[in-house]
């Protein structure tokens, strides 16, 4: 079995407040293997960053912004959502495995939802990893 690869979380610092969930290595304590990188706004996340994370060996990427409609900077979360869905340039490259990208839109108090989604996503990509390594 291949070594367990990391899931990268690109999160807006105003979205789900997960400060208490992560340890000093920026890893989600209850979901080891999920690491977190914070942005001033989810609108800053480029599809390119998602691609590069995958290229550098991430098993999957979680993008997290605030509830749609409540972006502090007005519409950052809508933009990255549309970009991921290919409705607004620049989009995600075709080669990126869409199954390994998850986008969440959670307000500040919703850290529990974040955790459960992150755990589920982690197990999904782990399964994908195993399947793919079997295929060769």
């Amino acid at each position: 079995m291949a070594e367990e690869r990391t899931v990268i979380t690109l999160i807006c610092e105003r979205a789900a407040d997960i400060n208490n969930l992560i340890n000093d290595k920026d890893e989600v304590t209850d979901a080891p293997g999920v690491k977190v990188l914070k942005f001033p706004c989810s609108g800053m996340i480029q599809p390119l960053m998602v691609e590069q994370a995958m290229k550098a060996g991430a098993a999957g990427v979680i993008v997290c912004g605030c509830q749609i409609g409540d972006c502090y900077y007005r519409e950052g979360n809508k933009m990255i959502r549309e970009r991921l869905l290919g409705e607004r340039p620049p989009g995600l490259k075709k080669t990126v495995d869409r199954k390994r990208v998850l986008a969440l839109w959670l307000s500040k108090p919703q850290k529990d939802r974040f955790l459960s989604e992150a755990k589920e996503f982690l197990s999904v990509v782990r399964r994908l990893d195993i399947e793919e390594s079997k295929k060769g």
């Binding site: 990391t6 609108g43 550098a56 933009m79």
Partner: protein, 386 residues
């Protein structure tokens, strides 16, 4: 961050909890708290429409020298609207309660914007124009109460005149402007009608300033919310029907009145504090509202504006289209460049949000705090650390 959360405990109970609940029940799509700015805008349309219907039958005169049967003046025309025109009373009541709803919606908007910290720095133009808009709405609402020309209108008119008279130097001219002459005449009501309607349309101009620094302002709530809003107004129409009032009589001095707390509270201030006190409190209130966005109260660090990497920018315009604060201008590229346009950031408008970074496929625009290169480096670090 931590102490900020503690400071805003009220915010928690006031907004975050209901917000969470509403999101659970109807999802963020229909959360009125996410349309707090669009709600007053929609109510404005309700007011415009119902106002148009009332305007069609309104006669702005005070003619009441003798109480003949066929007297036609402002009061009797309002009476005619109420009792004779089909649904006249309902439209009148809708116009009144939509006005109240407007004040409530604006206050909600204001409080939410305050608690979510969305009013200062690069948003001060919106805040100040918002204060002006609130002031305009208040005055429009008050003139609406003068127009009915019942005893309350007369009392309000006289109180306003007394407040104006107390203003040094320009008091007299103000009074003349307000009454459109030295005394209450037919011209006075024409003036009221002009202020009421003219100022209402000026709202559109003030709204333009309110929106000018925002790309794609959210100005329409989803239809379902609009239905609910109209339904609320209609319920108020049933619960608080229009009641009969007495025509103003210039020879009498009415002394007390029902107060509409949304629009007429300044008159309560006026009657309890006197003209001097009234101007004092109104000035203090306005000053506070206007000073709120001043940066020195917050000790926050200045926004680090985004920066364009001149030799990478291809002039594709994506960042300028997406910037939520109209902070990026496309200028002709310097001579010798391969491209036609170059993005330039107007630092005083920039919020440092980084949306432009997300929009640029060429890594040509960066936040000084967190450049692309650093993001990618951090991603690598996170992946390598075990």
């Amino acid at each position: 961050m931590q102490e900020k959360m503690e400071k805003s405990n009220i915010f928690h109970t006031l907004f975050l909890e209901p917000e969470k609940l509403i999101n659970k029940v109807v999802t963020s799509k229909y959360n009125p708290l996410y349309y707090h700015g669009a709600l007053p805008q929609f109510i404005m349309y309700v007011l415009f429409l119902s106002g148009l219907l009332l305007f069609a039958y309104y006669v702005p005169t005070v003619d009441n020298a003798y109480f003949s049967k066929n007297l036609i003046n402002a009061f009797t025309s309002v009476d005619y609207i109420t009792n004779t025109i089909p649904f006249g009373a309902v439209v009148r009541a809708m116009h009144r309660y939509a006005g109240d709803a407007m004040v409530i919606a604006i206050l909600l908007h204001m409080v939410r914007v305050w608690f979510t910290d969305r009013f200062r720095q690069y948003r001060w133009v919106q805040w100040l124009s918002g204060v002006v808009l609130l002031l305009m709405v208040m005055f429009i609402g008050q003139t609406g109460y003068y127009l009915i020309w019942d005893e309350r209108s007369l009392l309000l008119t006289r109180m306003t005149v007394s407040a104006f008279e107390a203003v040094p130097v320009i008091g007299e001219p103000l009074k003349h402007w307000f009454l459109n002459g030295r005394n209450i005449t037919n011209l006075t009501l024409s003036n009221y009608l002009f202020i009421h309607i003219g100022l209402s349309f000026s709202l559109l101009f003030a709204l333009w300033i309110h929106y000018v620094r925002m790309t794609r302002p959210v100005i329409t709530p989803p239809p379902a919310l609009n239905y609910l809003l109209v339904a609320l107004i209609l319920v108020a129409v049933y619960l608080f029907p229009i009641t009969e009032t007495k025509m103003a009589d210039l020879n009498l001095q009415p002394t007390n009145m029902e107060i509409d707390w949304f629009f007429l509270w300044p008159y309560w201030v006026l009657s309890s504090a006197g003209a001097g006190g009234y101007w004092f409190w109104i000035t203090v209130l306005l000053a506070v509202l206007c000073l709120i966005p001043l940066p020195m109260f917050y000790g926050s660090k200045a926004v680090e504006a985004a920066e364009v990497v001149t030799n990478k920018c291809t002039g594709c315009r994506l960042c300028s289209l997406d910037c939520p604060y109209q902070a990026i201008e496309m200028v002709p590229a310097p001579a010798g460049s391969r491209f036609k346009l170059l993005a330039t950031v107007k630092a005083y408008r920039c919020s440092g949000c980084g949306v432009c970074v997300g929009a640029c496929a060429f890594d040509a625009i960066d936040l000084p705090d967190l450049p692309d290169a650093q993001v990618n480096l951090k991603i690598k670090e996170l992946l390598e650390a075990k």
